[in-house]
Point group: C2
Chain length 132, copies 2
């Protein structure tokens, strides 16, 4: 079974332009930015409302895909960890999951807060948040 190709549904516009400037994850971020959803996918946004928390999947196009062991947050004191035991961007399929708060919606543009993702990163998906 061959996987079908990914479709980028949009792109993130934000002010995080380097790994050094990026919060370590969404739970530690108040950074704001805009999800630009391409017009052909805009219809899929119907039902999303300001104030809601959404789950957004990004394709980390700059991440290394060939490494399976890393030092979490670059801290060598804790030893090497398997990437699947971490949230590192390094992994075979560099898909990031961010829980973001919707501040405003203008057509195909969603203003969000909680960003830990670099400006220009492609967007793969948006989902409703659920909890156990």
């Amino acid at each position: 079974m061959e996987p079908a190709g990914l479709q980028f549904i949009g792109v993130l516009h934000g002010d995080i332009t380097s790994r050094e400037d990026a919060p370590k994850n969404f739970a530690e971020s108040e950074r704001v930015g805009t999800l630009e959803i391409y017009p052909e996918y805009q219809e899929g946004l119907d039902g999303i409302a300001p104030g809601q928390t959404i789950v957004v999947l990004f394709w980390l196009h700059q991440a290394n895909r060939d490494i399976l062991k890393i030092y979490p947050r670059g801290d060598r004191s804790k030893g090497l960890h398997g990437v699947f035991a971490t949230r590192s961007p390094v992994r075979p399929n560099p898909i990031a999951i961010s829980e973001l708060k919707v501040l405003a919606i203008h057509g195909n543009q969603l203003e969000v807060s909680g960003l830990d993702i670099l400006d220009g990163t492609p967007i793969l998906d948006i989902k409703k948040k659920i909890g156990r």
Copy 2:
């Protein structure tokens, strides 16, 4: 920018064989199964421990990718919703997110509970769970 292809890191073995038999989501499931991680990716599991909750990304290879509006859970009384406002498997990139409890680890096999995914579904990624 062309997206690189996905790599399947493993496959799910479980007893859910039809959409009708599948729990609506992980938060409503106690179903158990096994994540078989292919040997070439096994090293990435180091650091995952029984008792832990992990975030698993699946590629829903049977899902329709061409529909942007659906009736949530098939309920027509609430009208059509954009797929990005829901957890429907129907979406341009049919990636599912499940939070699963690790029951046991045997080499490259992870026994998990909380499954809402069909037997035979490819696995894309495993991440540590975090919360805000």
